[in-house]
């Protein structure tokens, strides 16, 4: 008798399960709004860039909806906050998946983006990664993610090229232990070594600390011509201040994680003359002027370093959906892969077989009179 009950229960659950799935799946092919997920850190230490990116995506969606939406349907966005933390990111991804988004744009911190790749892959959800660019993402990608920012090796090449340009012959590398910064440090180290130059010191600071005296003393003792900070601006500003305060006079360069204006605001006068291997910041892109205008009209802040890429990512996704002619994951994925010379405000987008951008988009900025300016 008991067995029967269990069988009944299983059968009922099964029926409800199938029925439930069928119902939930309906919005994809039916009428109504279409849901797109945004995964960025809107709280936590990297919230500044994350909020800029969220705003940029919303701006793009607003414009697309005003122009008639995608395949005749309006887009609605939902945000998953990854807090730049791998464990929070998996929760954010699960949230987006359970809300049945048709696709996801975002990805700022590589470390936080990494564990979500397989989640989206398993769920069959295409993911356009706007900013995160560690090379480790390439290996972990099950094929559903497309990266529109150049990866770590392209950035390292730019850093090496610029250090050489400045006549620097020895460098120190400092990271914060995050996947992105370690990746950039390793790439720079091997490329710098391949050029026959010396890395005099390699060090790491712990997130959450304010005191860098240990690192600074080590760098001062090694006395390299240049220092390359590969992580984010909050700690980067502290490092710059403490290096300069201790009398370091060499070249300081920071990676794209530190390319926000915030770095200069935090480090103050000490930031003068600091170089940055930066993503295509909209301020310096002729094609992005109308975007900046639209952004400033909609939001009471400046678009940060990644807003342009996020704006492009959103438009690229919508473009792919239109080309696919459906919201089906497989079709959109195929359309993304077939992207050829999509004209974004940050430049043309085409993908390599590894789903990465097929060109380097890095520029060198220099801090001048309290603002970033193009150095080239």
């Amino acid at each position: 008798m008991r067995k029967h009950w269990i069988l009944m229960l299983v059968a009922v659950l099964f029926v409800f399960g199938v029925f439930g799935c069928a119902q939930d799946a309906a919005p994809v092919d039916g009428e109504g709004d279409v849901l797109i997920g945004i995964m960025v850190p809107v709280t936590g230490s990297e919230a500044a860039d994350g909020i800029d990116m969220e705003n940029a995506a919303k701006l793009a969606v607003e414009e697309i909806n005003a122009a008639g939406g995608v395949l005749g349907r309006m887009i609605v966005t939902t945000t998953g906050d990854d807090e730049c933390d791998p464990s929070k990111a998996t929760a954010a991804a699960s949230k987006l998946i359970s809300e049945e988004v048709v696709a996801v744009v975002g990805g700022y911190c590589s470390g936080a983006t990494l564990p979500t790749l397989s989640l989206y892959g398993d769920a069959g959800i295409p993911f356009v990664i706007a900013a995160a660019n560690a090379t480790s993402l390439i290996d972990e990608n099950p094929g559903w993610a497309y990266m529109i920012n150049s990866t770590g090796d392209a950035q390292a090449a730019k850093a090496v090229e610029w250090f050489k340009n400045l006549g620097v012959e020895s460098i120190a590398l400092v990271d914060d232990g995050s996947a992105f910064s370690v990746d950039l440090k390793d790439q720079t180290k091997s490329q710098w070594g391949a050029e026959g130059y010396a890395v005099l010191a390699e060090d790491r600071v712990e997130t959450g600390t304010q005191d860098f005296s240990a690192v600074v003393t080590r760098i001062m003792a090694a006395n390299p011509d240049g220092v390359y900070w590969t992580a984010y601006q909050g700690l980067g500003a502290l490092l710059i201040k403490q290096l300069r305060e201790n009398g370091y006079e060499g070249v300081i360069m920071v990676g794209d994680g530190s390319s926000a204006q915030e770095l200069i605001d935090l480090a103050g006068a000490d930031a003068e003359g600091v170089y940055c291997t930066a993503p295509p910041v909209v301020d310096f892109l002729p094609a992005a002027q109308s975007f900046i205008e639209g952004y400033n009209n909609s939001f009471p802040r400046e678009p940060g370093a990644y807003a342009g890429l996020m704006y492009d990512a959103t438009y690229l996704l919508v473009d792919a959906i239109e080309r696919a002619g459906s919201f089906d994951g497989e079709a959109v994925k195929a359309a993304l892969a077939a992207t050829s010379g999509f004209e974004g405000i940050t430049g043309p987008v085409s993908f390599t077989p590894q789903n990465t951008l097929n060109r380097s988009n890095f520029v060198i900025l220099v801090a001048k009179d309290g603002r970033w300016a193009l150095a080239e």
Binding site: T217, A221, G234, E245, E262
Partner: protein, 304 residues
């Protein structure tokens, strides 16, 4: 830099960071001594102090003009304000729990900590904030040691605060009452000491010192952040344990020792400075195993 210069530089760095640890550790130790509570919210009091100072500095600087005078005035006001915040927290969150099992009050402390730092996170949107003081760091040399005015003043101020606290504990009636309560709360009550008042004063003094440390850290490092208290809280706790938790000179000694230990530990060749925190916590574990009463702690027999 020669090895001698590195040694001097790290000696000074260690002392300065150690004195920050010490100032925060005192608060842990005082509260533990008097109500046997590990006040986890103390690290966030330190952070609140830094933000309070930042806001005041922004208000006051245009009126005062002189950078150092502005810092001193905002430091004093913040110490009082954050001291009162500590008293408020004690009154609202801890006093109703004093008779409850110790674990309950410990969990309450964790909750207070989360409330404090999440509040600041929401207000600041999780961003780093520049702590603008208007000080310039003109450096000069004492022997082979590179020094700035800011650092020298901060170290002296930290040591002076510790000395003042020591005098307060050993030379005043309130200090005497605190020491008495840490020995036996119930008897003190019978002797007519207003225990609740003394506990409140303890929280006031501990929180004020943490606020001072927070502002000094802001002045020294130049940026503040809602999470800045977390790591220094753990380090200060370590310092309090090393010195003997509940013993105030022990907390100061533990702080300085820990600062020096980190400063020199991180300069060992082939070990990067990312091992700094590992040094501290290995030291904590060793102390907990081999000398759980700390450097200045005495082994007391359990009172029945």
């Amino acid at each position: 830099m020669t090895a001698w210069e590195v040694f001097l530089q790290q000696l000074f760095n260690g002392l300065l960071v150690g004195s920050f640890y010490g100032l925060v550790a005192i608060g842990y130790s005082m509260v533990y001594g008097i109500i046997k509570l590990l006040n986890f919210a103390h690290a966030d009091i330190y952070m609140s102090g830094a933000f309070c100072g930042l806001v005041l500095l922004g208000f006051l600087t245009p009126y005062i003009g002189n950078a150092w005078l502005g810092i001193v005035v905002s430091l004093l006001i913040s110490m009082v304000a954050v001291g009162l915040l500590g008293v408020l927290i004690q009154r609202v969150a801890y006093r109703p729990m004093l008779k409850a099992p110790r674990l309950s009050i410990l969990i309450t402390a964790l909750a207070v900590s989360m409330i404090l730092y999440n509040t600041v996170m929401i207000i600041t949107q999780g961003q780093y904030k520049p702590f603008t003081t208007g000080l310039v760091h003109e450096s000069f040399y004492i022997g082979a040691l590179r020094m700035t005015e800011t650092r020298l003043v901060l170290l002296i101020a930290a040591l002076a605060l510790m000395l003042m606290l020591h005098l307060f504990i050993t030379r005043t009636m309130y200090g005497k009452a605190m020491r008495a309560i840490s020995l036996d709360r119930d008897t003190c009550q019978l002797m007519g000491i207003n225990v609740y008042q003394i506990v409140a004063i303890t929280f006031f003094v501990g929180s004020a010192l943490a606020a001072a440390a927070g502002i000094m850290a802001g002045v020294y490092y130049g940026t503040v952040h809602f999470f800045m208290g977390f790591l220094i809280g753990l380090k200060a706790f370590t310092a309090a344990v090393i010195g003997g938790i509940g013993i105030i000179p022990g907390a100061m000694l533990g702080g300085l020792l820990l600062g020096l230990l980190e400063a020199f530990g991180t300069q060992i060749p082939f070990i990067g400075s990312q091992w700094r925190d590992v040094f501290s916590f290995v030291f904590l574990i060793l102390f907990l195993i081999f000398k759980p009463n700390g450097l200045l702690g005495r082994i007391e027999s359990e009172r029945m």
